[in-house]
Symmetry: D2
Subunit: 359 residues, 4 copies
Amino acid sequence: MSGMWGNKLKFSIFGESHGVGIGITIDGLPAGVEINMEDVMKEMARRAPGKSNLSTARKETDAPEILSGFFEGKTTGTPLCAVIRNADMHSKDYGKLKDLVRPGHADYPGFIKYNGFNDYRGGGHFSGRITAPLVFAGAICKQILEAKGIIIGAHVKSIGKIQDKSFDQIELNKELLNKLKCNELPLILTEKEDEMRNTILEARKDGDSIGGTIECTVIGINPGIGNPFFDSVESTLAHLMFSVPAVKGIEFGKGFLMSELRGSECNDEYYYEGDKIRTYTNNNGGITGGITNGMPILFKACIKPTPSISKKQRTIDIAEKKDSELVIEGRHDPCIVQRAIPVIESVTAIGILDLILNA
Amino acid sequence: MSGMWGNKLKFSIFGESHGVGIGITIDGLPAGVEINMEDVMKEMARRAPGKSNLSTARKETDAPEILSGFFEGKTTGTPLCAVIRNADMHSKDYGKLKDLVRPGHADYPGFIKYNGFNDYRGGGHFSGRITAPLVFAGAICKQILEAKGIIIGAHVKSIGKIQDKSFDQIELNKELLNKLKCNELPLILTEKEDEMRNTILEARKDGDSIGGTIECTVIGINPGIGNPFFDSVESTLAHLMFSVPAVKGIEFGKGFLMSELRGSECNDEYYYEGDKIRTYTNNNGGITGGITNGMPILFKACIKPTPSISKKQRTIDIAEKKDSELVIEGRHDPCIVQRAIPVIESVTAIGILDLILNA
Amino acid sequence: MSGMWGNKLKFSIFGESHGVGIGITIDGLPAGVEINMEDVMKEMARRAPGKSNLSTARKETDAPEILSGFFEGKTTGTPLCAVIRNADMHSKDYGKLKDLVRPGHADYPGFIKYNGFNDYRGGGHFSGRITAPLVFAGAICKQILEAKGIIIGAHVKSIGKIQDKSFDQIELNKELLNKLKCNELPLILTEKEDEMRNTILEARKDGDSIGGTIECTVIGINPGIGNPFFDSVESTLAHLMFSVPAVKGIEFGKGFLMSELRGSECNDEYYYEGDKIRTYTNNNGGITGGITNGMPILFKACIKPTPSISKKQRTIDIAEKKDSELVIEGRHDPCIVQRAIPVIESVTAIGILDLILNA
Amino acid sequence: MSGMWGNKLKFSIFGESHGVGIGITIDGLPAGVEINMEDVMKEMARRAPGKSNLSTARKETDAPEILSGFFEGKTTGTPLCAVIRNADMHSKDYGKLKDLVRPGHADYPGFIKYNGFNDYRGGGHFSGRITAPLVFAGAICKQILEAKGIIIGAHVKSIGKIQDKSFDQIELNKELLNKLKCNELPLILTEKEDEMRNTILEARKDGDSIGGTIECTVIGINPGIGNPFFDSVESTLAHLMFSVPAVKGIEFGKGFLMSELRGSECNDEYYYEGDKIRTYTNNNGGITGGITNGMPILFKACIKPTPSISKKQRTIDIAEKKDSELVIEGRHDPCIVQRAIPVIESVTAIGILDLILNA
């Protein structure tokens, strides 16, 4: 009841971190769409770890193999399934470790939900690795959207307390958004990169991790997309966003700041720019009444600090039913924000394309 | 593709503000559940306007009539439909007003989506009035949840810049949550009521409106409820929350604050309290990996200031395709936060009950 | 998980035979569609009983009231809900009768499914009366389809052993199909009417009932509509058809007769008629591989004899848990086939329109 | 909107006959279910061709590889994906053949639906080969059902005009149903085998094919399973059955024969056998009002003759837009009925398990 999502487009995800493979089936794609596989691979590379000391040194070569729904370089219109085989894991002896549930992870709730039968290795189905198929699917959706003039882009809005500018303070265009995709830490104020990098490395040095926020935008989208009850644009995007591990908050437009403002400060007043309808401000993030109003969609998502840290933590031993302590070994991502960016963009593309095709 | 939601429980909503009636069909309710209709009516009264000068003076007697699925005081297990007839509206002459799209409202995106055929009167299907059936449905779900020991409660977390305490700073229990339901402005720090009330009345005096935030909790829920991709507890609740007009942000647990913290500060460490598993902190708001961990679910939703204000606003005339100005007459809610509380609680009840029945 | 159906269009049905009212919500209708309510009422009259001695003398004035989604004579694009209030039933004392489960009816399985809490009066939610909202919804769908040049028609293919001709033996056109709608017993070979009528009246005289078959066609539909796994045209129509009480079989094209034939006899060979692609025969009933091929859709549905008969029947008393006997009093439909025709046409319209809008 | 099906269980199918691979993802399986993979393979072998001269000599080694959702011999509760790689096809030159649409196949409607972009080789996504993943999924569902005491069995009811006895004429039990699974032509009257075999071989000799019917039963199922509108047991099974290529009709219980009978002949009268409720007859095939009544579910499905025949057929050339002729070369199944039996059983298992888990 959970691994499938969508209305006109449908997505069926599967896989565990240390199982045979992970993947996704996409149904409902239009037939005859050319897919630039090189660009798909570039998107997947953005999510992959091991690019710098900001992420885990673990290497993942996420090479998806398309099994179906793709013929002579184009979509066939039938379900497209792509599989990424997991590298041959040296199935290390988890021993007692598997009974020491990791704080901040899904180990304990997953153990309860699945009665202890789930594949716990490396987080199993809860692993961030399962977002790789989402990036694959998102990359395809992005190409279809781009052909309609719709571009999705995102940047690191903050790492810890270090803040970048907001998208609503600058002029948004395709070139800028595509340029952001080239940086490991995509920023509007590139001069903030060192500070952010240091914040991450300090956390790493301390055997700790740090959170951040991502701001995402969709430009070029027509007004009139979305629904009132129950499938507003916000509902659709938030639903998908909270499928991404580590996301704990989302706000559209000015978001939580709106709670401090008055209606006269929040309402986006309309005007004609030629025969195009625009608003002077974009406090509502391009969505009013759950429906796009033609202005850029804007939202921010909060990414919690990676729960895997090297510091000793108090936890329980669920087998022996007693309190215990845990030290997680191995190399971990001191910050997941930068790797989450292509994932956030991807589920945005998935949601927006479904809304458009279903309109 | 939008007016129906749910998995094991299904909800089908309908109605326009100035049409014949509004209502909801609930399918999948267990058979044989006694419903206390007096309590349902109390919940509906909480949402109704006209209780004080904090809301519009408009009177709505939201008396739902159950048409089906209810027999001899109990649910039958078949679809339960309830209808609330709209009072006989003196269909005022909207004249040119209908072409002056109201900033912050769905008038313009709705006009585009429905090609101008939607019932624009009073916001039509986008009206906050359509949340009355949600409160009806939520009241039934709450009763079923309460029989399972699960209680949902909420309070005004802020009005403008005036802040109440947070739920994670106090001991949560059924009595406290039920007590909150009795106040128009439910607060932990009741001494803040005057300040909040004044903030609202000042906005009103200025022909303006003010936003706020609502904090909501679910106590007594078992661990193991929810799903990884794509129907996490957060996904489910956020999806429903963003169906409620005026909600522009949601954060679980410490939410956006987590972006500034380190893993060692955010991770909720486990311990045994007798044979019950608990965490020392509840920064994750009772949900890890998308699944409940047995701690209270905690989230905050941001409510934007009511877009209907008396101040003159710039807008466009979509019929004449030119810039124009608009003054919205009549009495409006200077703040919608307090009336939104039972709605937020209701969609929470709807989402949680569906997750539980579908587990 | 049962009272709602549809993909691009969604239908949510509710009601019990002797409850307050019955009805349906239709979501996903295009905005701006004019609905001829007079024609809708004509369709509803076709299903209503009391027209002759072929059906029960019970009078039902199925006047639907549209509560929402309809404004100034046109659909708004938002959920359209219509309610039919049940006449004020003199809630007769069912006494012991309610424990004597009627053979052929859903009394016993319904009792088990709903733990005895369902509204048993007059069949409750299982009553054929609940098909009235389907006819309402179907009438709207038919009007939308007709504007696309798609006409649905049906006739009595057989009553007992008396057979009418088949649609594949004649030239199908709009005039013929519309003419069929004017007769209580719509037939190709009108000379069979007396024989059929007598067959029904004889069953009636004997306190018994008789079954029959209905043949239905959809003309004017484009090729390419439908899906392979899992939503073929046949799957969609069969799913809906078996929601209609009393339907126990469906066959497309030559149907079960194909089991006796060879491939060379069943395959429909193609040819060009001008630039239009047609087949010499239509053994597959206009559908190959689950998808329309441009020929008329043809299927037959089997309608079992009305289970309500006057004859004494053996049954059980579920309260006292012992064998018993039952005589059902009152006036019953000696044959339901003719009244089922507009229902079969309606769910066909519902299914076909959803497939087309979702294509 | 088509490649995914299910409510509590969800199935996502993919693949083309001559693509890289085919497969299925099953979501919603209970966690901790042991799967006997040897039995799964036996079921897959029943569907595989090449066992005798009744089917094509083509060899398929349908070895499914489980990629996820399966750990230490048990289901994990997360999506289980299985892939069957297609053997390395010598991608023969289809040349002009691909433009000569095969009568009785989906070539033409598929071409229209997918704008010519679908993988046409060997029928592509419409190929009967795509039922192999359904048999895989069905085999797992059967094992779960069997643990609940529910057994599904089927036999060849007819080949051409040669008829076997019906299930309602004999005593049904687990042993009988399991014994039927061992024969290529499972029959109650085994003495009919030669006649049936000859009927098939004669068709083959003539370069033709022959149809038949399959009767299927589900024993051991509790009463109270299923739904009224819209997801009756019949709706659910028929929906799935018509996803199986070549099925053109389905009837439950006495089915179309009921159209000739009177109510007093069709109604199944109840009696107590000890404290168990049974009916003297089972004309309704174990389902009344769309819900199981505790008697065996009985239905028959009609399988049309394989459309691939060697005889010369008239068709069109869709590239040159003119009439043409076609001779399909290679070895074909002269009869598909016996190979369809495990498929019919499998989709029955899929539908019944979903209904039970969703009850």
